[in-house]
């Protein structure tokens, strides 16, 4: 059963820049019974969303026998973007595929950088992986496949499309595995493989 009560904020204390203590007293002053660890849904009209009441559930921090107020210790969590490895590495500088015909493998190197973290922004992180290589490639339908990083790093979308057409590495989970640079009717080998010979060379 859900009841709505109005409450007054009686006490706030900022412990850190993202951590604070808040105490609420219901308008009629009656604190209902609750168990330790129970949570309370607090709603507040938010101006930036047009006065809509935004509701969030918070664990009650005060003791159940305390009948004077509800106490909450609330921490503001900076939300990482969904599916992100870290909150700081964002942009794919480049995704390059390298053909290793001797080892029957195709390497794919992701160069990742960061814009926001001053410590990371000086450097580029290289993530390298290999996929099996087939002598007669059939891009998309052979074993040359890798999972796509597009869900984690949105910026690799076009880079992975380029690697797919240039080396025939199919990225599973990429929503848009179409040709990017090559013409639609390209029917030759993927051009950056070593067995695709430059004419006249």
């Amino acid at each position: 059963m859900v009841e709505e009560h109005k409450a007054t904020l009686t006490y706030t204390q900022l412990l850190k820049e993202d951590l604070g203590i808040f105490r609420l007293v219901p308008e009629d002053g009656v604190i209902p019974d609750y168990k330790a660890g129970q949570f309370l849904t607090i709603g507040m009209p938010v101006k930036s969303e047009g006065g809509k009441v935004v509701r969030r559930a918070y664990s009650i921090a005060s003791h159940p026998e305390n009948k004077k107020f509800f106490e909450f210790v609330i921490r503001w969590v900076r939300k990482p973007f969904p599916g992100r490895l870290t909150t700081e590495l964002f942009n794919a500088e480049s995704v390059s595929g390298v053909d290793f015909p001797d080892e029957k493998e195709i390497g794919v190197t992701y160069h990742l950088g960061s814009y926001t973290d001053p410590a990371y922004s000086k450097q580029v992180l290289a993530l390298a992986t290999r996929a099996p290589r087939e002598e007669t490639p059939n891009p998309g339908n052979d074993s040359t496949k890798l999972p796509s990083l597009r869900d984690m790093f949105y910026s690799v979308e076009f880079h992975e499309r380029e690697v797919f057409e240039m080396l025939g590495v199919y990225f599973e989970g990429h929503p848009d595995n179409r040709r990017l640079l090559l013409p639609e009717d390209w029917a030759d080998l993927p051009p950056l493989r070593k067995d695709f010979k430059n004419k006249g060379r």
Partner: protein, 382 residues
């Protein structure tokens, strides 16, 4: 499929699904005065763009494949072809990478000459870009002025490299030849004159009320989205991200110079078009500092051995080009030729923002948004 980028809020009544007759598909490009050497497949509902799909590749030349068949020196002239009017900057990461691979030191004077040449080239590129931005918005004066003033810097580059556009000036180990004797005076004079002209650009173009009304609040790229989409260069800085490779990861002598990063908060087309303009002023500043600090004499090139070979190694170097970070990834296998060479260029990285920004915009905003992405189709195709 988790959609990381939220779809943009469309104006009410617009949708792609379940509407057949209302949607018109326009092929903007590759033969179109408002596209450059690429195609954007645009679906419009009335005056609103509901879907945009960039289709680059019209001028794909396989520079990366070509590089695998040529040695480290003969690669130089053709690697600058993707952006001939920014040829020093597109060559810069390659040259730095080869120096790392081969392991040679660059003389101090050559580093300064490189920085000056790179900044001059940045101005040449931005003027070209600005000219096209002007004509895309129908402002013919802004088309002619930068195209004319570009000659100042082209003449300077001709003085130091001998070629007007395709300089092939940087070589691993330094620069190809020394600057002429009176270069310092001529360069300072041109730069001083050009700074006055830049202010006039502001008067006629950036302060123009029609331009402001037209480009402000169009194609807004928020700070978070700019980071998530991995945009770079002026697009990123216009969205309020303080990031410039020259400052964050200084190469050559940029750490000894005072480089200021121009950051605007708005993230709209107007801000994106204004950042390169501010960058030109900053380039003039850097050139002046570099001319002052440059050693007056000395070697300008460390000679390489004939047919230099890299080790069993790979290297990734990046610089700040006119369009953003330009990186070069070289895999070497103890041969005179690179085993694999990958150019990671700003245009290609900014292209991903195009469909995102165009959705929900009006058709009339398409050129403003498209060209404000600081995009050069030939570079993206490589």
């Amino acid at each position: 499929m988790a959609e990381v980028i939220p779809t943009k809020e469309m104006p009410p009544g617009l949708q792609v699904e379940n509407v057949d007759d209302r949607i018109m598909t326009l092929n903007v490009g590759p033969q179109h005065p408002g596209s450059g050497h690429m195609r954007i497949i645009v679906k419009i509902d009335g005056d609103y763009i509901v879907d945009a799909d960039p289709d680059p590749g019209y001028v794909h030349r396989g520079e990366e494949k070509m590089a695998e068949a040529r040695n480290y020196i003969t690669n130089i002239p053709h690697l600058e072809r993707p952006v001939i009017h920014d040829s020093c900057n597109i060559l810069y990461p390659y040259v730095l990478g080869v120096e790392d691979l081969v392991g040679i030191e660059v003389p101090e004077r050559a580093k300064y000459v490189r920085v000056i040449a790179a900044e001059l080239n940045r101005c040449i590129y931005i003027q070209y870009w600005l000219a096209i931005y002007g004509i895309f918005l129908g402002h013919s004066t802004m088309f002619m002025w930068p195209a004319g003033d570009r000659e100042l810097f082209i003449d300077l580059m001709e003085k130091i490299s001998g070629a007007r556009v395709t300089h092939a000036y940087f070589v691993p180990g330094g620069v190809r030849n020394d600057v002429p004797a009176n270069f310092e005076d001529v360069c300072l004079r041109q730069v001083n004159y050009f700074e006055k002209r830049i202010k006039e650009y502001g008067d006629i173009f950036y302060d123009n009320p029609i331009l402001k009304a037209r480009t402000e609040d169009t194609g807004v790229l928020s700070r978070e989205d700019a980071i998530r989409l991995g945009t770079t260069g002026s697009v990123l800085r216009a969205s309020g991200v303080d990031y410039d490779v020259r400052v964050k990861e200084p190469y050559d002598v940029y750490d000894e110079l005072d480089v200021h990063t121009n950051v605007l908060k708005a993230g709209d087309s107007y801000a994106r078009s204004k950042v390169p303009w501010l960058d030109m002023l900053e380039s003039c500043n850097i050139i002046r500092q570099a001319l002052e600090k440059m050693p007056k004499s000395g070697s300008i090139r460390t000679k390489l051995k004939p047919n230099p070979k890299g080790g069993l190694d790979e290297v990734y170097r990046r610089v700040e080009s006119g369009r953003g970070a330009a990186g070069c990834y070289i895999v070497s296998k103890e041969k005179p030729e690179p085993y694999r060479l990958k150019l990671s260029v700003g245009s290609f990285r900014n292209l991903i923002a195009l469909p995102y920004l165009l959705k929900g915009e009006k058709l009339g905003n398409m050129p403003a948004v498209y060209w404000s992405l600081n995009y050069w189709p030939v570079e993206a195709d490589r």
